[in-house]
Amino acid sequence: MQNRGFLVFDTAFSCIIVILMIISAINVSNIMLKTSEERIAGEILILRLYSVSDYVVRDLAAEKTQNSKIPNKISAETLNVIDIEELEEQIGLSGLYIGFESKDKTCISRIILFEGEIKKLYFCADHYESY
């Protein structure tokens, strides 16, 4: 009878520990899931910014010769032609900024040759829109 009492006590104690561990594991999983979601969202935004920057630097704002374009060579004239709103809509980004100053947003930078000078061109955005 006394042995059975110890067994029940042991089991009860183990059960409490197991329940506490399960609760903590669920909490940790939730935190990890949230962190992963935020990280993935950040990565998607960065990748989209790189896509925009590739498009701008290699095509949209690249200086043109007779038959081709010169990637990374940008002039004020070609840079001013960019329609930010249209680009935002096409790529699914909001608050897109392209310029020579960093903004208080998620930003990436590209090295370009602007009017013969080596410069850093920033691409910033607030967040992305899901397709």
Binding site: S14, Y50, N72, I108, I111, L113, I118, K119
Partner: protein, 112 residues
């Protein structure tokens, strides 16, 4: 009792699994940045004509300008050209450059 112990051990393992399988690849953005920025630097150096005549002082001037704006050190090993000495090499590429009219392979290291 053994069943309880086995169950207990299994649950402990299950509770540890999220830690074990959690992906800690935080360097993704950094790696991608270095890849893109090294391509840009090479491209800009080509556009500036630095690899055509391989003028070391001109190349150094441009590399220092790049270091000032990006913080990235560029080293061209074979030609003793460096904007600074990186503590860690992030990207290493080999390119052909015309040095004294001869095409030669140069190793370009990007790092911080």
């Amino acid at each position: 009792m053994k069943v309880i112990e086995a169950t207990f051990s299994f649950l402990v393992l299950c509770s540890l699994l999220p830690f074990l399988i959690y992906d800690t690849n935080q360097d993704f953005q950094k790696e991608y940045y270095y890849m893109k920025v090294s391509q840009d630097i090479l491209r800009v150096l080509y556009l500036k004509g630095d690899f055509e005549d391989f003028n070391k002082s001109k190349l150094n001037f441009d590399l220092i300008k790049i270091r000032e704006s990006t913080g990235i050190c560029v080293v061209i090993e074979e030609q003793d050209v460096a904007s600074c000495i990186p503590k860690m090499a992030n990207v290493v590429v080999k390119r052909v450059a015309f040095i004294n009219g001869q095409p030669k392979i140069i190793t370009i290291t990007f790092g911080v």
